[in-house]
C-alpha cells in the first residue's frame, strides 16, 4: 500500500501543520512516512506545496512522481489546480472553496469551482464557514483534514489523537473546537 498526497496552499495557511497531523497519525499506525516541505522565500504569501508520502514499505524518494498522487489536498481553490500533473487519474482532489486573493489577476471563483467540479473525483469544502460553526475560523485546516479523512489510509481515532497532541498545550477549549471542526469536515465530505 502506498498513498501519496500533494498538499497545497498559500504561505501562512498552515500547509505544514496539516501535513504534520496526517503524517504523525500515519506513523502512529505503523506506516512509513516521508514529508517534503517548503521553507524560505516562498512562504511569504506565495504558493506553497508539500509532498506527504505514506506507505507500508520503505519509501525511496522524498518527492512524489508525476501522475501517481492519490490525493491533492488544498487549503485554497486556485492552488488546488496547480499540481494536477501529479494527480493519478484515480486520485481525488479535495479543496477548500475559500480563496486567498492576494494577486491582481485572481481568476473568477465560479469558473475555478466549475473546473474543479469537472474532475472525476473531487470534494469542495466550505471550510471557513464550517470552522466558524465549530467555534473558530482558525480551525479551517482541521475541517480540511476531516474532509480528507474518509479517503486516507489512517484511522479516524489516530487523526483525532494527532489533533489532540498538537493542541493540548493550548487548553481543552481549543482542542474541542479543532476536533469539532475535524468532524464537521468529515461530515461534509
Amino acid at each position: 500500500m502506498k498513498y501519496d498526497i500533494i498538499l497545497a496552499g498559500v504561505g501562512g495557511q498552515g500547509v505544514l501543520s496539516v501535513s504534520a497531523i496526517i503524517g504523525s497519525a500515519a506513523r502512529s499506525q505503523g506506516l512509513f512516512v516521508k514529508l517534503s516541505e517548503v521553507h524560505g522565500m516562498s512562504q511569504r504569501g506565495g504558493g506553497v506545496v508539500a509532498n506527504l508520502r505514506l506507505s507500508d514499505k520503505p519509501i525511496a524518494s522524498d518527492l512524489i512522481p508525476q501522475g501517481t498522487a492519490s490525493m491533492i489536498l488544498s487549503m485554497e481553490p486556485l492552488e488546488s489546480l496547480r499540481y494536477l500533473n501529479y494527480l493519478s487519474p484515480e486520485g481525488i482532489l479535495i479543496t477548500s472553496t475559500d480563496p486567498v486573493v492576494n494577486i491582481p489577476d485572481y481568476p473568477n471563483l465560479d469558473e475555478l469551482v466549475l473546473r474543479i467540479r469537472s474532475l472525476p473525483h473531487n470534494k469542495l469544502v466550505d471550510s471557513e464557514h464550517l470552522a466558524r460553526q465549530a467555534g473558530s475560523a482558525r480551525a479551517t485546516n482541521m475541517v480540511i483534514i476531516g474532509a480528507a479523512s474518509h479517503f486516507l489510509p489512517v484511522n479516524e481515532e489516530r487523526l483525532e489523537d494527532s489533533i489532540k497532541n498538537l493542541f493540548e498545550g493550548k487548553g481543552d477549549k481549543v482542542v474541542d473546537i479543532n476536533l469539532k471542526a475535524f468532524h464537521a469536515g468529515r461530515g461534509a465530505a
Binding site: G23, L35, S36, E37, S42, R44, G46, L81, Y86
Partner: protein
C-alpha cells in the same frame, strides 16, 4: 536505539549532538537554517552543547575552528553561498593540523528555491582537498554527521557534509544511536601545525597532499560507496551520488533488468569502484544533484571508451533539481502524466512582502523621494526586502550577494551616476555591509544608504540579529558617518511623507548620507506579542 522524525537538517544536528559536539555556529540561510535552530532548542532544553548565531559564515567558521584548536568537536553550518563568505578560513583550515573534529555542513539549493545560484559545494571540498560526505536520506544525514567527526580527527582535516534542499527540508524517521561524550579539554596542539607561515604552510600542504592517498583508501573501502554489479546485463550501468539514489530507486523496479549500480556518498571519488562499474557496462548514466561534477571527471578530455550520459550530454537536465520524473526519463522509462484540464491557465502567485511589513512603508517613501530624480539607481541586497523588486514596488535594480548593495552603489557613484541609493536590511548590513560602508565613509562617496531595520533576520524565519537596533546607530556614527547626514526614521504609513522628504533631502546632499528606517518585522512582532 530510538526512532525520531527529523528534517534532514535536524538529523545532522542530532548526529552532531550524539557525536559529542561541544559547540556549533552558523548564520541563517535557507536551506541550512534548521540545523542551528534545532541545536539552539536543544541547548535551551538541556543546557548544551553550545550553539550560537554569528555575524556571518566567516566568523562562524573561525569560531568553530577555535573549538577544534582547543581539542573539542565543532560544527559550522551554512547555505552554499555562505561558503563563499567562509571560503578563506575553510580552504586554509584544510592545511592546519585539525585537533578536535571539525564538520562543515553546507546546504546547496539546486532549483534556487531561495537562493541566487545553484553552486555545487562538492567543488569546494575538492578544491580544499578534503573528504566530503553526501547523504541520500535523513538516516544517512544522521550517521554521516557522526562519522564525519571521527574522520576529521582521524585524518586531521575538516570534513564537509553536503546537503541539498530536498533532503534538508524533508522529514523521515531516523534511528538514533548512543551519545558519545565530549572530548576533554586537552593541551593545545603543536603551534607549527597551526601557524601557516610559508615555511610551515609548505610542510602542511605537503602533508595534505600525502594524506590524499589515505583519503582515497577510505573512499574505496567506505560503506558509503556501494557497488552492485550485474554480470548478465551490460546495457546500462548507473552511478548515483547523494539524494539522486532515491530517485533512481523510485524507478528501478520498472526497468527490464537491474543495472549495475555504484552509489557514491563519500568523496574523494572512489576511482577503482568507478572503473569496476565502467568495465561492467557499455553505457553509464550519471545521476548527481548539482553540477556535473562526477560526469566531467569521467569524461575527461580524451573521448571515453564507453558512452557516458548525464547533464553534459543532455540526458539529465543541466539546471534545476533532479526529480523522480526527470530521472525516470533519463533511465529510458516513459514519462508519466497526471490529470489534465485542457485550456487551464493559472496566474502565478509569487512571494510578496507581508501585509503590514515595514519594508512596504519604506519602499513607498523611497519611491516618492526618488521620483523627481529619475532615472535614479537603487542597488539592493539579500533579504525579504528583495521582494521590493516585484510589482507594485519595482523599487530596486540589483540583488547580487550579501552586502553588495553598498559597494555597488559606491562604484556606480564613482562611475559618475547620480543619484545612487543603496538599500540593505539590518542583518545583511551587519553580515557584510559594514566594511563597504567604511569604504564609502573613507571616500565620502556621493550616495545615500537606506538601512531597512526590521530588528530581525526575517527571510529565514525571524532569527535575532547579532546587534540590537539601538547599538546599530552607534556603530554607524562610530564608523565616521557625518551625524548631520545620519537619520533614524520610523517605517510606518503615517510617516511616509515625512520619511520621503528626509530621503529626498539627503539625495540632494553631495556626499554620503545614511538613513535607518526602523520598525520591527510584523511576523516577529506577532510572535513576541503571543509570547507575552
Amino acid at each position: 536505539m530510538t526512532d525520531t522524525v527529523l528534517l534532514g537538517d535536524e538529523a545532522v544536528a542530532l548526529g552532531a549532538i550524539h557525536a559529542g559536539l561541544t559547540a556549533a555556529y552558523a548564520y541563517p540561510g535557507t536551506p541550512s537554517t534548521e540545523i542551528l535552530e534545532y541545536l539552539l532548542k536543544h541547548r535551551e532544553k538541556h543546557g548544551g552543547p553550545h550553539a550560537a548565531w554569528c555575524c556571518n559564515e566567516k566568523t562562524a567558521y573561525e569560531e568553530a575552528l577555535g573549538v577544534s584548536f582547543a581539542g573539542r568537536r565543532a560544527l559550522v553550518a551554512m547555505k552554499h553561498v555562505g561558503l563563499n563568505v567562509a571560503a578563506d578560513p575553510f580552504i586554509n583550515s584544510a592545511l592546519v593540523d585539525i585537533h578536535g573534529g571539525l564538520v562543515v555542513v553546507v546546504a546547496d539549493d539546486p532549483g534556487m528555491h531561495s537562493s541566487q545560484n545553484e553552486q555545487d559545494s562538492r567543488y569546494y571540498a575538492d578544491f580544499a582537498r578534503i573528504i566530503c560526505l553526501e547523504p541520500a536520506t535523513q538516516q544517512e544525514a544522521y550517521e554521516m554527521t557522526r562519522e564525519a567527526f571521527d574522520l576529521s580527527e582521524k585524518f586531521h582535516i575538516p570534513v564537509m557534509i553536503r546537503l541539498v534542499t530536498r533532503l534538508a527540508h524533508s522529514r523521515s524517521a531516523v534511528r538514533t544511536g548512543e551519545t558519545r561524550k565530549e572530548n576533554s579539554l586537552g593541551e593545545p596542539p603543536d603551534p607549527s601545525g597551526w601557524i601557516l607561515l610559508p615555511s610551515n604552510a609548505r610542510r602542511r600542504w605537503h602533508s595534505l597532499l600525502e594524506r590524499q592517498r589515505d583519503f582515497s583508501i577510505y573512499s574505496e573501502t567506505s560503506s558509503n560507496n556501494t557497488l552492485t554489479l550485474n554480470d548478465r546485463h551490460r546495457e546500462l550501468g548507473v552511478i548515483t551520488t547523494g539524494i539522486a539514489e532515491t530517485y533512481f530507486l523510485e524507478n528501478v523496479d520498472e526497468l527490464p533488468f537491474e543495472p549495475s549500480h555504484l552509489h557514491i556518498g563519500a568523496y574523494p571519488l572512489p576511482v577503482e569502484k568507478i572503473r569496476a562499474l565502467v568495465e561492467h557496462a557499455d553505457k553509464v548514466l550519471v545521476l548527481e544533484e548539482g553540477y556535473p561534477f562526477l560526469e566531467r571527471f569521467l569524461r575527461g578530455i580524451v573521448p571515453p571508451p564507453i558512452e557516458i550520459q548525464g547533464k553534459q550530454s543532455g540526458h539529465v537536465p543541466a539546471e534545476g533539481e533532479l526529480t523522480p520524473d526527470n530521472v525516470r526519463i533519463a533511465l529510458g522509462l516513459a514519462e508519466r502524466s497526471g490529470v489534465e484540464l485542457p485550456g487551464l491557465t493559472l496566474p502565478a502567485r509569487p512571494p510578496q512582502l507581508c501585509a503590514g511589513c515595514p519594508h512596504r512603508d519604506t519602499y513607498h517613501a523611497l519611491k516618492q523621494a526618488v521620483a523627481p530624480f529619475e532615472p535614479a539607481l537603487v542597488t539592493s541586497d539579500i533579504g525579504c526586502y528583495t521582494l521590493g523588486a516585484l510589482a507594485p514596488y519595482s523599487a530596486i535594480q540589483s540583488c547580487v550577494c550579501m552586502g553588495a548593495s553598498i559597494g555597488m552603489a559606491k562604484g556606480a557613484s564613482e562611475a559618475g551616476f547620480r543619484p545612487v541609493i543603496a538599500v540593505i536590511g539590518d542583518s545583511t548590513f551587519l553580515h557584510s555591509g559594514v566594511t563597504g560602508l567604511m569604504d564609502a565613509v573613507a571616500a565620502n562617496t556621493d550616495m545615500t544608504l537606506v538601512i531597512m531595520d526590521n530588528e530581525t533576520v526575517a527571510m529565514t524565519g525571524g532569527q535575532p540579529t547579532i546587534m540590537s537596533s539601538s547599538r546599530l546607530e552607534r556603530l554607524i556614527v562610530g564608523l565616521g558617518v557625518d551625524p548631520e547626514h545620519f537619520h533614524v526614521l520610523s517605517a510606518h504609513p503615517k510617516f511616509t511623507d515625512h520619511n520621503a522628504e528626509v530621503i529626498r533631502s539627503e539625495i540632494t546632499h553631495r556626499g554620503l548620507s545614511v538613513i535607518v528606517a526602523v520598525r520591527e518585522c510584523i511576523e516577529t512582532a506577532r510572535k513576541h506579542k503571543a509570547k507575552r
